[in-house]
Amino acid sequence: MSRIIQDRINAGDSIDATDLNNRYTAYSQPGALDVANHGAASIDLPQVRGNQLITIDSQRVVLGTGSYDHSSVESIPSATASPATLAEVGGGSTRLNFGLTGWTITPGDILRVYWDTSARPYVTGRPYAAPNLGALTIDNGSGGGFDLNDCLACWVLHLQWDITDPTLSNFTAVPGQSDFQVGTPAQSTLSSCAAMTVVPAYLEYSAQGNANEGATNARTLLDMRWNGVSGAYWHTPSGNVTVYGMRIVAHGIYHAAHTAGLNRLYLYTAVGGVTQYLELTQGQLSAVHMRRG
């Protein structure tokens, strides 16, 4: 609306209909009230409530079909061939579905996604023993070497979205995240790991009382139990994108690798097998579509 600038009426001015009308018309300027009309602190919650000034949309869904007391679980098998099959956590029944119109994220918005679940990795024996990935040769204190693993192996849970249509049959990894389907073996550089959670596949230590200044000749394997794991992702698009649904997929086992000057995760089929699997119970997957300001 802007400032109303009108002079006062002076004694001697004619009592004129046009002048009087103009004075009142000045209060009917086209355009909404603007910064020239508002005093300090004149906009409070009642003035903005429900108008999506901060949050536009939000949704939350239970993730996974297991039960939180571990009485029923989902089991993700380890890959024995490359690439790994991406298993959807919840099997298709626990995914975010944004409806027929989806959520349209514009360049001034941000999409934030959070997930968590409970995971337990299983491994039998030492399928990663030398000469497989991660097998280190440590000084055994008497001139020889000892096979100790660096345990840089993990299961991956990562986030996918469907930006094609509401049928939710075209899920792909979100921007900045790889689907781990390409390469020999299937792999991803660490620069494409923006939307994932890792669960260690196995852990072993140099046994207590055995290490002597950088040497070892005995190891202890850790039986890994249930652990809460979580992940987060956010996306700020440069152009409009309509998201119809999101889901988490699980696969493994991967190991650290370093080739051609880049850090990567390689699919580790040598440890794949029926005795290596990941159990998941239940968690949450939630998303918020909000403005950036």
Binding site: I5, Q6, R8, A11, A36, G39, A41, S42
Partner: protein, 719 residues
């Protein structure tokens, strides 16, 4: 027949209530008091701060309204001053060094005041200016030293602007582990041979013969005669930051380091290494404090007092070593309550009183005043605050005066007296005066502290010492009708300053619904009365060293529009600034000055008078036209009289510019001459005379000559 003469030998000022005193005036517009004669002079006007027309309105040509303005006198005697102002949410420094005229944006993104909100206030603290606006973090601006104009604004701002106080406690120091030397006999680990970096081994021998000055350095025990580890050391550290003015930050969290001597060791004490935190901008040194050895093995077990170890005299060193023995520590550390993070991060007003910096609490804490330690404006103690009584309203302005700190509040006036050592006390002076205009406060000789309140302009006089009383006196009784035109919600935008050059207090207020000041009222100390100013686009106001008033334009210009914008000075220039016409700067004409006398009843309003002559006692200001109009009985329309020249009526004209001849004419003094104006008016009950001119006129007095024809005013109309 000789008429009756009434003379007005001393002219008063505007009085708007009725009936008016005879020597008063109904209108005094765009006039000032001439110091030589005490008469009313029309010589007013204003010009650009940079007078050269070739500069046009640069560098202000793209600025909108100037919301606040401050002339910071950095050195006495006017040797150096800086002009700071805010426009469109940016704090600018007007760079005039080396005759350049540039603007430096010191800080952008500041809050633009809403139409009814006061703009930023400026307080001189030491050699810097504190800028507060009740919304943004208070910043300290110290515009010196300044580099040359090849530096960008951002580079200049880094050295010139910093936030006030400390935003948080210092970060705790990062202590490295003490890696001991092994006992060397019997089984046990020898010194580590792999890379750590998170621990150091620094030792000082305890034995004579090992080194000169044994025992001079080192912490904890040197000897453990037992075969088991023992004689532990346990030291705690805290760190604080120091500013250049000596203010110390709150002490950091505690960090601890411990070690235990191996069995059968003797001969070495260890020293501790740590990484010190780096302080925020403005910090010049760090202080390190440490306890004594607080381990159970130590005679100082449980003594958790902290003592000063050393001052690291820079804000860059990261790694530091402590070799000091327990007997070499310094004074006790200041108590934790001696310094807290800035208690008022949204202060709106500030003042220095008894060497302490006082801040209000800001909009969320409006009834509290916080004060710093004396001489340490960035250091605030935990108990250094005063809670004012709630009914007085929010604090609007702090002002140091006489021996008290005047606290102008929204619904009252309080004062704070005392000092830091003995404590400050708050007293209420009055709860009926509501100051809503913080930028109108100034000291006026003979009156005290003058400010605009909700119901007029007040003067706060007197003090509390020696039995005297502090009084509030309303000065604006004569101009109540004009002051009622004030836009009530925009009173916070009013600005006022005393000008020693004019010997007058200028007050510019938003009237008639406008949200920016568009009318001036001026209190002349010689006349102890008021006049008005119209057409002066004052948005913000301050005073230069020579007593002249400088103001910022109240509207400014959108980019490319070439409207008047920037800084102007109220001077003797006979022009109302200027404008851009056809790409060149052209000065505007002078203001129209209007002098309308009071309505005179000349003795009795019931008797009809016939005024025949009005004589103006004017100084001979030259061959300029004096046009007068005669008014009767409060009517709007007057009767024009013949124009006269302001030259001696019965002697030769004095030489005037543009026609005086060099070499022939001589310089002259002005003379007081009577200009007798014939009035061809019929009878009237009330009479007034108005003189209106854009020329120079100096009116010292006047008189009126009238006859009484003997008739009375007729009775009123029947209802």
């Amino acid at each position: 027949m000789q008429g009756i003469t009434q003379q007005f030998r001393e002219l008063g000022a505007v009085v708007e209530f009725l009936p008016q005193p005879a020597d008063a005036f109904t209108r005094l517009e765009n006039v000032t008091v001439d110091p030589a004669t005490f008469g009313w002079s029309t010589r007013v006007g204003f010009e650009k701060y940079r007078p050269n027309p070739a500069f046009r309105f640069e560098p202000f040509h793209n600025l909108g309204p100037i919301d606040s303005l401050f002339v910071f006198e950095q050195l006495p005697g006017g040797r150096r001053y800086s002009i700071l102002f805010e426009s469109g949410g940016t704090l600018y420094l007007f760079w005039e060094v080396g005759a350049e005229g540039l603007l430096y944006a010191l800080q952008a993104g500041r809050t633009v005041p809403a139409p009814g909100e006061a703009a930023s206030q400026y307080t001189v603290v030491g050699d810097a200016v504190l800028v507060t606006n009740g919304r943004d973090t208070p910043v300290v601006v110290r515009p010196w030293p300044l580099p040359d104009t090849t530096y960008t604004a951002a580079a200049v701002a880094v050295g010139v602007v910093r936030p006030l106080g400390f935003p948080a406690t210092a970060a705790a120091p990062d202590l490295l582990d003490v890696q001991k030397i092994g006992s060397g006999s019997g089984s046990g680990a020898s010194s580590a041979n792999n890379v750590t970096g998170d621990a150091v081994t620094l030792w000082w021998p305890d034995q004579d013969g090992a080194i000169r000055l044994p025992k001079a350095y080192g912490l904890g025990f040197a000897t453990n005669t037992g075969s088991d580890p023992g004689q532990a050391a346990d030291f705690r550290y805290r760190v604080s930051f120091l500013m250049e003015n000596g203010s110390e930050s709150p002490l950091s969290d505690e960090a601890a380091v411990k070690w235990t001597l191996d069995g059968n060791t003797n001969g070495f004490r260890y020293c501790v290494a740590m990484r010190l935190p780096i302080g925020p901008p403005g910090v010049v040194a760090r202080r390190v404090y440490r306890t004594q050895n607080t381990s159970v093995d130590s005679p100082t077990y449980g003594d958790t007092d902290l003592y000063l170890l050393d001052t690291v005299r820079n804000n860059t060193d990261d790694l530091w070593f402590d070799p000091y023995r327990s007997t070499a520590v310094g004074a006790l550390a200041p108590a934790l309550t001696e310094s807290i993070p800035l208690p008022s991060p949204r202060a709106g007003t500030a003042a220095v009183f008894q060497d302490c910096l006082f801040l209000d609490g800001g909009p969320e804490d409006p009834n509290t005043l916080y004060f710093s330690h004396p001489g340490l404006p960035d250091q605030f103690g935990a108990a250094s605050y005063i809670r004012l009584a709630a009914p007085g309203g929010a604090v609007v302005r702090l002002f140091s005066h006489y021996r008290v700190l005047v606290v102008l509040r929204e619904n009252g006036v309080d004062v704070v007296s005392g000092d830091f050592t003995n404590g400050f006390q708050a007293t209420t002076v009055t709860s009926q005066v509501a100051c809503r205009s913080p930028h109108t406060v100034d000291q006026v000789p003979g009156l005290g502290v003058v400010f605009l309140a909700q119901d007029g302009v007040y003067a706060l006089q007197g003090g509390f010492d020696g039995g005297s009383e502090m009084q509030v006196l309303r000065l604006s009784e004569p101009i109540k009708r004009t002051l009622r035109r004030l836009t009530p919600d925009c009173a916070a935008r009013a600005v006022g300053r005393y000008s020693p050059m004019d010997r007058a207090y200028h007050l510019y207020i938003p009237v008639d619904g406008n949200d920016r000041p568009n009318l001036g009222v001026v209190f002349h100390t010689e006349k102890e009365g008021w006049s008005t100013r119209t057409g002066f686009p004052v948005g913000s106001l301050d005073r230069l060293h020579n007593g002249q008033l400088i103001f910022g334009h109240n509207t400014g210009s959108a980019p490319q529009n070439d409207d008047p914008a920037g800084l102007f000075v109220i001077s003797g220039r006979r022009a109302m600034g200027g404008s851009i016409v056809g790409d060149a700067y052209v000065e505007n004409g002078p203001p129209t000055s209007i002098i309308k006398t009071a309505w005179l009843d000349l003795g009795d309003a019931q008797l009809q008078k016939r005024v025949q002559y009005a004589t103006l006692w004017a100084m001979t200001t030259g061959s300029v036209n004096i046009t007068a109009e005669a008014y009767k009985d409060f009517q709007r329309e007057g009767l024009a009289c013949r124009p006269y020249l302001a030259q001696p009526p019965d002697a030769a004209n004095l030489p005037v510019y543009d026609s005086a001849t060099i070499g022939t004419d001589v310089w002259e003094d002005t003379q007081l001459v009577p200009l007798r104006i014939g009035v061809a008016q019929q009878s009237c009950a009330w009479f007034a005379l108005e003189v209106s001119t854009t020329d120079d006129l100096l009116l010292v007095g006047w008189e009126v000559e009238y006859r009484l024809p003997g008739t009375n005013t007729i009775a009123g109309k029947r209802g």
